[in-house]
């Protein structure tokens, strides 16, 4: 059986930023207080006409530019994970495939997931490599939560950020992807949801009228019960960690680094505390990027690689979790 590896990770952020100075002016909260509460200094915000798929195309172009040894014809699978599709149909992955100029023999599929999207998508990519269906998978994760956050919602606005990542999963070399554990609990759906979106609860006249002063929130509004999301994270991640260790025949002491979905400062701090992890083992990009949904884990991984933080032969526990509820985790080893 083939083995699956993460070989390359590239990232891309929009030009516009939202700083704690900006938030301080809008909400009259001291900058240092905002940093303490959220763990975030800088967030990236898409411009009005810029969508998650535009970020996806940009990160894809950057990926091929920075990695000239990988030809577009080498890619035989494009997986696109986002919670912000361009259309109900066609698949946004098909549009990105066209703009990147990938081969007609490359299949392009959407994975409409959020905070667990990166690790959920890795499960699929690993299976496609291991069963011989694909040899080089371009897995793009891209999100634009800023477009569904109410402009006056301090809590969500101070955490979420827009960004994209392109990850190459191959059968040759890189971080070997281990065995996964995962779970789903749809009872948590209401605790993190985009209201006024999709077919179940579309935007209507009353909605547009109610939100006319903030542009209508035409593609929906994110609502989050922060308390329940925190409780969910503290409840599910410890057994998820234990299950991943067991499946990969590892002990707690074998894990060199931890990359959690960059949910918020509080979630990362207390999940780490509950797992009794030394702070220096926790890799985070939260301060400089915020919560970039499905792009958060590859951004943290990419930064750690670029800064040479990861020693050879390291075991890295990665865990995606959130909206759904959905969660999954594995070990990657370099």
């Amino acid at each position: 059986m083939e083995k699956a590896y993460i070989q390359v990770v590239e990232t891309y952020v929009p030009q516009n930023t939202l700083s704690n100075v900006d938030l301080s002016l809008q909400f009259d909260i001291p900058q240092d207080e905002i940093l303490k509460q959220t763990g975030v200094k800088t967030r990236y915000i898409t411009s009005e006409e810029e969508l998650a798929s535009d970020l996806a195309v940009s990160v894809g172009k950057k990926f091929f530019k920075e990695n000239a040894h990988i030809k577009k014809t080498d890619i035989n699978f494009l997986l696109y994970c986002t919670s912000a599709l361009d259309y109900v149909g066609p698949a946004t992955a098909c549009l990105i495939h066209e703009q990147l100029g990938l081969s007609k023999n490359c299949l392009a599929i959407d994975i409409p997931m959020g905070c667990a999207g990166f690790t959920n998508g890795l499960i699929m990519a690993k299976a496609l490599i291991e069963n011989g269906t694909a040899q080089n998978i371009l897995f793009i994760t891209s999100d634009m939560p800023s477009k569904v956050v109410h402009p006056n919602d301090y809590y969500l606005k101070s955490i979420f950020s827009d960004a994209a990542a392109a990850t190459l999963i191959t059968n040759t070399k890189g971080f070997e992807i281990g065995k996964f554990s995962f779970g789903t609990d749809g009872l948590g759906a209401e605790n993190l949801i985009i209201k006024g979106s999709g077919a179940r609860n579309p935007v209507d006249f009353d909605w547009l009228e109610k939100h006319k002063n903030v542009g209508g929130l035409k593609i929906g509004r994110m609502e989050m019960n922060g308390l329940e999301i925190l409780k969910f994270s503290l409840r599910e991640i410890p057994p998820l960690f234990e299950a991943v260790l067991h499946k990969n025949n590892l002990k707690e002491s074998d894990i060199d680094y931890f990359i959690f979905h960059q949910a918020s400062g509080i979630v990362i701090k207390y999940v780490s505390k509950k797992l009794n992890i030394a702070p220096e083992k926790v890799i985070s990009s939260l301060e400089d990027y915020g919560n970039t949904v499905s792009a958060s884990i590859p951004i943290a991984l990419s930064n750690a690689i670029k800064q040479n933080l990861i020693q050879p032969n390291s075991n890295i526990f990665i865990a995606g979790f959130g909206i759904g509820y959905s969660w999954s985790a594995t070990i990657i080893k370099n």
Partner: protein, 78 residues
């Protein structure tokens, strides 16, 4: 078994932005200066990680003082 003194010490450690001399058993924690929803999240997380007790939003709503909060935690200890 935890004591109210241990409980208050832990709260002081977690609430960096709250003056430590403002936390006593009979303090109404909602009336602490700078109190916000983030502090409620920290209480939930602290109690979960330190004592493996899962508080609900209703638990918090039913309490006002730190002593009352402590009593709920003790009643839920496994």
């Amino acid at each position: 078994m935890i004591s109210i003194e241990d409980f208050i010490t832990k709260l002081k450690e977690e609430f960096e932005d709250v003056p430590s001399d403002s936390l006593h058993a009979n303090t109404n924690y909602r009336e602490i200066e700078n109190w916000g929803s983030m502090h409620a999240l920290i209480i939930i997380a602290l109690v979960d990680t330190e004592w493996d007790v899962s508080l609900t939003g209703s638990d918090l709503k039913a309490t006002n003082t730190i002593q009352e909060l402590f009593d709920v935690v003790v009643s839920k200890l496994k």
